[in-house]
Every structure is written in C-alpha cells, then in structure tokens.
C-alpha cells in the first residue's frame, strides 16, 4: 500500500466511508412512512441509545478532534476545563431541565420546531417572525464552518495525489507543499454536501439519526486509536504506560498548568455551553425521543463521552509542545492533528482519521440542514398557508426542497472562502446562549409575557451586534473580552456575560409591566399539579 500514489489510500478510504453513509441513508428510507412526522422527527421512535449517539454527534463538531488538540497545543491543558468539562455539566443540565420538559409539551401539542412552541406559549405571532431570521442567521455560519472544514481536511490528508491537476498555490504563486496535489476544497466540500444531502433527503430524520450513530462511533473509536498510535510513536518505548510517562514529563510547565489563562475568562466560559438549550437542530432531535425516559441515557453518558473524546486529544496537543517532536513554527494549530498523523502513522490511519474528522463534521451538518428545511416549511410556509391547506405529502416535499436550497446556498457561500467565518464559532454559540433565558422562562415562569420575551430577544441581539461590531473594529474577533472593573482590579469576562445579562434583565423587567398570556394559554403549559 505504501507504494501507491501518495494520497490515494486516504482518498479510497474517504470515498469508501462516504459510500457506506449513502447506503445507510438509502436503507433508512426503506422504513419511511411518507408522513411529515416520520420525515421530520422519525415518528418519535428513537430510543435511548440512538438518542444518545445522535445528540452527542450533533453537538460535537470537527472541533472535538481537530480543534481540541490545536487549542491545547496553543493554550495548554486548560482548554479541557474551559470547553469540555463545562459542557459535560451544562449540556446534560440543558437536556434535563429544557429537553425533557419541552419534549413533553411538544408531544402533547404536536410541535416540531422551537418557533411553533414559542408562538403558542406566548400567544404571539411576531415572536416567530423575530426568532426565525436570528436562529437561521446563527446556524448558517456554523454550517459554513463545517462545509469549509470538510474541504480543507480532505485536501490536507490527500496531498500528493495529483500535483498536475490539483496544484495548491499561495496568492503569490508559490506552491503550498503540505496541500499540493490534494483534492481541492471546492471538490471535497461538494462531495460531502452531496452525501449529506442524499441521506437527509431520502432518510429524513431517521436517516440522519442512523448516520449520526455510525459517525459518532467512527470518530470516537478513531480518536482513541490515533491517540494510542501517536503515543507509541512519540514515546519511543515498547510500553504504552512508559510512553505516557515520557510524554507527560516532556510537557512544558506553561502548557501543563493554566498559568497563562485568565481565571475570570475561564469561569465565564461556563455560560457558552448554555447555547445547547437554544440550538434549533438539537430541539428537533429532542422531539425524536420515544419517551421522556429515552433522555436518561444521553443525560448520564454525555459528560463521559465528552471525556473519552477530549482527554486524548488534549494530551496529544500538549505533547506536541514538548521536545519529543519538532513542529514547524508556521503550522496552524488546527492542522496539528493531521500533521502528526501524516508524520507519525501510515497512510491507512491517515485515511481513517480523515473519515473520523468528516464523521464529526457531517454528524452536525445533517441535523442543521434538516432543521433549517423544517423551520422554513413549518414556521413560514405551513404557518402562513394554514395547516389544513398543506398535506403531509406537500410538507415532506417542501422540507426536501428547502433542504436542497440550503445545501446549495451554503456550498456556494463556501466557495467565496470566507476564512473569517471560523472566528464566528464562539460568537454564534454566545448568541444562542444569550437566548437561553427566554426558553428557560417559557418553561418555568408563568409571568413571562410576549412583550417580555420579545424585549429579551431584542436585547440579546442588540448587545450581540454591539459587541460584535466592537470586536470587528478592533480586529479582535477571536480574543474579544469585556473588562469588568471591581475595586482597583479589572477582570476579563467573556462577551456572553453581557449578552445574557441584558437579555435576562430586559425579559424580566418588561414581563413584569406588560400583560401576561391568557389564562387558558397558561393552563395549557402549566397544568395544575
């Protein structure tokens, strides 16, 4: 196999993996019942195991494998506490406090999207029109990141395949050696978009759930295998444990501790995972659950799964800062894992790792495409045409058409190569977190009024826009923090604190002074115990 054209084994494995996904999606369509409920929420038939795998796969993007090792390489071991253990606590909290309750209400009232829930709960149509562009606008950069990352991963791991056809050059015409000959991003992204489109189009939510389950297993197993292989190569002894010790001792002090990390930034990062409570694609996955008890396994296992994926990746990232390997100083942190795999392992493992990274990317993309298609259909078309005027068959047709449209738009946007979109990740998450008080209050506070919710959404988006503008002006999109002066000290806090705080205050104050929803509406959402 090593005599083959460089990049070819990787390409064969990637194509094989994409073919398996297509088969899986098409097989799931054999069970399709032709109804709206079956296409959008798999007829609420998903049990605990599939729910766990699909929720975990949807929340973990390529960042879980590539970004975690890259960030650890840059910042040290503190990224695990900042991004992973915090998510382990908060994501499950959201599944428990928001997911289970919203599932019950939505099942009783037939909702599939968040907007259907908010419109009914607040007795207000405008809240839907307000939330729709915000939710779609916050998901689209997230989609773009996935589509663009898939093209980049395929290109870097198939480099050398065909330097004549796929020349990779810088704007000044010099060859980029690490990428030259690799499948170009426009082609790699197109392959991924088509595969996801096919299995979402034919399989709907069932196809998405099956594919997510397979993809979650693939990236978890491949992450662990990569960790062991890299440890054995870098450590240089026969024993895994001895190698771990050698590598542990090689980590420089500033990466083995958090001496360079702000404590207040670390603390306020805890608010970012609250975004999970308002992700529209996660809401739709919650609706697939067979019963409220189906949530038990995901609630328990989610923090463990995060640990299984993140701890090895963070260790690999900090090992790379030691003296056991030379990392080129120009290497981008996000390219660290592909670099180590290419340098230290075989083309076969590199091909499988590419499949693992693509699995992590696609397991989020599919849910997001399906969710946006569902929102366009249910919250705009069906809502304004009237439910009675749209048949199940038409609903499925509209959802599929919107999915094709959104895949096409995302792919075309990705061709403009808006690299700055990568810096938007944490801003999108912060935007969703800023909306968290609205969903929490809608479920647990009878006093929430429509005007209060609208004020909260407007305050969230106004504060988001203001801080985003400030960050753009100062060219600090990735590093922007708020300065919080207390006494003579000034502390760094994440911008999400300001966004969430303003949304919460506006929502509570306006709710207290404006009329509450009608008693019959409240009775529907807060039945007497």
């Amino acid at each position: 196999m090593n005599d083959l054209q460089p990049g070819l084994p990787q390409l064969i494995i990637i194509l094989g993996y994409l073919a398996i996904l297509l088969l899986l999606g098409l097989s799931s369509s054999l069970l399709f019942k032709g109804t709206k409920k079956d296409f959008q929420v798999a007829s609420h038939s998903i049990g605990p195991f599939f729910l766990l795998m699909s929720l975990f796969g949807t929340t973990m993007t390529a960042f879980a494998l590539v970004g975690s090792s890259g960030e650890a390489f840059k910042e040290g071991i503190g990224v695990y506490g900042m991004l992973a253990s915090s998510s382990g606590i908060i994501h499950s909290l959201c599944f428990f406090v928001i997911g289970v309750k919203v599932w019950k209400i939505a099942r009783n009232n037939g909702y599939t999207t968040q907007i259907e829930f908010f419109r009914d709960r607040l007795d207000n149509d405008f809240i839907g029109l307000l939330l729709f562009p915000i939710l779609v606008g916050l998901v689209i950069p997230y989609l773009l990141i996935g589509v663009m990352a898939s093209g980049t991963v395929i290109q870097s791991l198939t480099a050398g395949l065909s330097p004549e056809w796929f020349e990779a050059t810088k704007p000044d015409g010099t060859i980029i050696k690490a990428l030259n000959g690799g499948v170009p991003p426009y082609l790699g992204s197109l392959m991924v978009c088509i595969v996801v489109l096919v299995y979402v189009f034919f399989g709907g939510m069932r196809g998405t759930t099956w594919a997510n389950t397979l993809q979650t297993m693939v990236f978890m197993v491949l992450g662990l295998v990569t960790f062991v292989v890299i440890a054995m190569k870098l450590g240089g002894t026969e024993s895994l444990f001895e190698n771990l010790k050698v590598l542990g001792e090689s980590i420089p002090d500033d990466k083995a501790t958090r001496s360079e990390m702000s404590k207040t930034k670390f603390f306020t990062y805890l608010l970012i995972p609250l975004s999970v409570g308002m992700f529209p694609h996660l809401f739709q996955h919650w609706m697939t659950a067979k019963s409220s008890s189906s949530f038990k396994v995901p609630v328990i296992c989610h923090p463990l799964f995060i640990m299984i994926v993140w701890v090895p990746c963070v260790l690999v990232g900090v090992w790379a800062t030691g003296d056991t390997i030379n990392i080129p100083p120009t290497l981008s942190p996000n390219a660290l894992l592909p670099f180590l795999v290419k340098k230290l392992t075989s083309p076969i493992l590199a091909g499988f790792l590419a499949a693992g990274i693509l699995a992590a990317i696609m397991s989020s993309l599919d849910s997001q495409f399906l969710c946006i298609g569902t929102m366009f259909t249910n919250d705009i078309v069906t809502h304004y045409k009237g439910k009675e005027n749209v048949s199940d068959r038409q609903t499925v047709l509209y959802t599929r058409s919107f999915i094709i449209g959104i895949v096409a738009v995302t792919y075309v946007l990705s061709l403009f190569d808006p690299k700055s979109v990568f810096a938007l990740g944490v801003w999108c998450f912060s935007g969703f977190s800023a909306l968290f008080p609205i969903v929490l209050a809608a479920l647990y506070w009878r006093g929430l009024s429509a005007m209060g919710a609208i004020a909260g959404v407007l305050a969230a988006i106004a504060s988001w826009s203001y801080m985003f503008y400030q960050a753009l002006q100062s060219d600090t999109l990735r590093t922007y923090v708020l300065d919080l002066p207390i006494g003579e000290e000034t502390y760094d806090v994440m911008p999400v604190v300001g966004m969430l705080g303003s949304s919460l205050i506006a929502m509570v104050v306006v709710s207290l002074i404006t009329p509450k929803p009608k008693p019959e509406t409240l009775a529907k959402f807060f039945p007497a115990q």
């Binding site: 992973a84 501790t257 260790l315």
Partner: protein, 87 residues
C-alpha cells in the same frame, strides 16, 4: 403534595446542590499553577477536570433515580401514534 412528588421535589434540591458543587469544583484555582503529574503522566489540572466529567455523569445518573420529572410516558404516546396511523 403526594409522597412521590415530595420525594421528587427533595431529589431536585439534592441534584441542584450537587450541580452547584460541581460548578464550584470546576473553578479549581488551587490547581491553577500546579505541575504535578497524576499516575506519572497526566497533568493534575487535566486529571481534575476529567474527574469533574465523571462526577457530572454520576450526578446525572442519580438525577434519573431521584429527580426525574416524569414517569414512563412512552407507551401512552406510542398508542396515540398507532391510533393516529390507523385513522
């Protein structure tokens, strides 16, 4: 308030307390600058937070026993689904 809802309410308080405890332990300022390697290979800051992940998992496991808000409602909804499909 019935006996079972009283127990569930007590369970919610216990789980709330444990979550707050996890959030406090998450801000482990005492490990901030320690370069101790646990088992000879794992930086203590990483090991501590891996334990927080385990603690979170155990807390949520306990929540499913003592603070779960609903009984098993799947059967009722499945029957409802079948009735709808039969119409």
């Amino acid at each position: 308030m019935t006996g079972s809802s009283k127990a569930a309410s007590k369970g919610v308080w216990i789980i709330s307390g444990l979550v707050v405890l996890l959030l406090i332990l998450h801000q482990d300022n005492w490990n901030w600058e320690s370069d101790t390697l646990v088992f000879g290979f794992m930086p203590i800051g990483l090991f501590w937070h891996a334990c927080i992940s385990l603690g979170a998992s155990l807390t949520w496991a306990l929540a499913t026993f003592i603070a779960w808000p609903f009984g098993d409602d799947g059967q009722a909804f499945q029957e409802n689904n079948q009735q709808e499909a039969g119409k």
